[in-house]
């Protein structure tokens, strides 16, 4: 028994020695031989394991990439959420740019700080331009859409203005064609009508139609003539028998205004007729120029090109000319052209026919 154990032990030791010898031999093999043996193993026994390893590494790569993609999608979503806000701001600034181009001189651009500086009232705002920039008390505050308010107090760096919603706000007004005159003030009605204006003191003989544009008249020396104030939406029945009162939808909603222009006294005293009528034109011109590089413009151009290609393909089809394979006809083609006997299938077949 002991002899057998001893023999086994010797055999084990011998096997160990052989294995160690082989391993050391593998270590000292020339590179070429070593690579050959390793390659033979990789091609045979180890091949399935290497495939498994490759798949696992690929799966790990996909997981890591998924995290990166998620992070990218998150940041894009965040950027996307800012797009409407930036678009609105862009729109406002473009309009202001149009107004500035029309006014040409005598204005001070400013930002409106709603409820800033401890002012709790909704109808009083702080402007970020003050006396140093040329803002004076009683200067008109305007926006691209029309009149907003008037400056009531100035500091060197800031100024305070009342909006047209302020109970003390008054402006001498007229119909845009000069047919009727009156005084515009905020309408002190119940909540739904609170943000409306009313034009009081219109002569009884002057009837204003709904939709008539009301502008400042220039009387009184504070507001120059021609600043849009609002549009007539109806007549208000009052007890005054000798004058009419009209309700106006304001040209500007103060809560939406962020950037304004404050007119200097010289500019307010000069002629600004036609400025607001051409603001819209200037604005659209600015927009066209600015949008030339915009993706929206490119998209529109692509759509126009697609429509044109579709019409070309229809015309070519009608004249019996083969259409390029990339051109596809829309299903809506048949009803639009109203061609008797022209079937949708035939249109589609022709449009994808290979030359």
């Amino acid at each position: 028994m002991a002899r057998a154990t001893r023999t086994d032990s010797r055999v084990d030791t011998a096997v160990l020695a052989v294995c160690i010898g082989l391993a050391l031999f593998a270590l000292v093999l020339p590179d070429r031989s070593r690579d050959g043996v390793a390659a033979a193993l990789r091609r045979t026994i180890v091949a399935p394991l290497l495939v498994l390893q490759r798949q696992a590494e690929r799966a790990r790569g996909a997981l890591v990439e998924r995290d990166r993609v998620n992070a990218r999608v998150d940041s894009l979503s965040l950027n996307n959420a800012l797009v409407p806000q930036l678009r609105d701001e862009n729109e406002r600034l473009r309009q202001l740019l149009g107004l500035g181009a029309q006014l040409q001189w005598g204005f001070v651009p400013a930002e409106v700080l709603h409820n800033a500086g401890g002012i709790a009232e909704d109808d009083v705002v702080m402007l970020t331009a003050g006396a140093t920039a040329g803002v004076r008390s009683r200067a008109p505050v305007v926006a691209p859409d029309g009149l907003i308010g008037v400056v009531t107090r100035t500091d060197p760096g800031t100024s305070q203005a009342i909006l047209w919603t302020h109970p003390d706000f008054r402006v001498s007004a007229m119909a845009a064609d000069g047919s009727a005159f009156g005084i515009v003030q905020p309408h002190q009605g119940p909540d739904p009508d609170r943000f409306m204006l009313e034009m009081r003191g219109v002569a009884f003989r002057d009837v204003l139609k709904v939709g008539t544009v009301i502008t400042s008249s220039g009387l009184g020396g504070v507001f120059p003539r021609g600043i849009p104030i609002g549009v007539v939406v109806g007549e208000l029945k009052t007890l005054e028998g000798w004058a009419r009162t009209y309700i106006l939808r304001p040209a500007v909603r103060p809560q939406d205004v962020v950037h304004v222009m404050v007119l200097t006294p010289d500019r307010a005293a000069s002629d600004i007729a036609g400025v607001w009528s051409s603001v819209a034109t200037a604005d659209s011109a600015v927009r066209r120029i600015a949008a030339a590089g915009d993706s929206i413009a490119r998209q529109e151009a692509d759509q126009r090109a697609a429509r044109q290609r579709m019409l070309d393909s229809a015309a070519a089809m009608l004249s019996g000319v083969n259409v390029a394979p990339s051109v596809t006809a829309s299903d809506s083609l048949r009803p639009r052209l109203n061609i008797p006997g022209l079937k949708r299938d035939s249109v589609r077949r022709d449009s994808i026919r290979r030359p």
Binding site: C19, I20, L41, Q55
Partner: protein
């Protein structure tokens, strides 16, 4: 060793080899459990030292084949730890979870030491960092994985007590 026991052991060993080439690359951690060492150690304690040395040698060759620069180092290290595991098991090893964990840790550490010395590619400072920092950590990960596998697949992996 009867046939059923042998088949269960072979299946478990194959599973550990598959884990080595699937879980490790999938995790991609700096410190990984070495499933080949676990497999060799668990199989070695079921075999005679000579058989264990052969198993370790062959497993080492498999692990060496993807990196021909160190071809033979893994075979040498596996041969030695497999033989040692089988011989130590035959002498005194007891069936205890904590001892198993220690067994895996020491096995992995010993493997790394022999491997690093045999491949002689690392500088002295790199070798010190490798053997005194990363190898013990990898040994601990191997011990943890080995014990978990033993608990999960007790019937297939449970070693034969001496």
């Amino acid at each position: 060793m009867n046939l059923g026991r042998f088949l269960r052991g072979a299946l478990a060993f194959t599973m550990l080899i598959v884990l080595q080439y699937s879980v490790r690359p999938l995790l991609g951690w700096r410190i990984n459990a070495d499933f080949l060492v676990i497999g060799v150690l668990l199989m070695a304690v079921r075999m005679r030292p000579g058989q264990a040395a052969i198993l370790g040698f062959l497993t080492g060759l498999i692990s060496d084949s993807p990196v021909p620069d160190a071809f033979g180092a893994g075979a040498l290290a596996m041969t030695l730890i497999a033989f040692a595991a089988s011989w130590l098991k035959a002498v005194f090893f007891a069936d205890n979870v904590v001892l198993h964990a220690f067994f895996f840790l020491v096995g992995k550490w010993a493997f790394d030491i022999v491997y690093a010395l045999a491949e002689h590619r690392l500088t002295v400072s790199e070798m010190v960092v490798q053997l005194l920092l990363w190898s013990p950590l990898a040994g601990a990960a191997t011990a943890l994985a080995g014990v978990l596998l033993l608990l999960l697949f007790r019937s297939a992996l449970e070693p034969r007590t001496a």
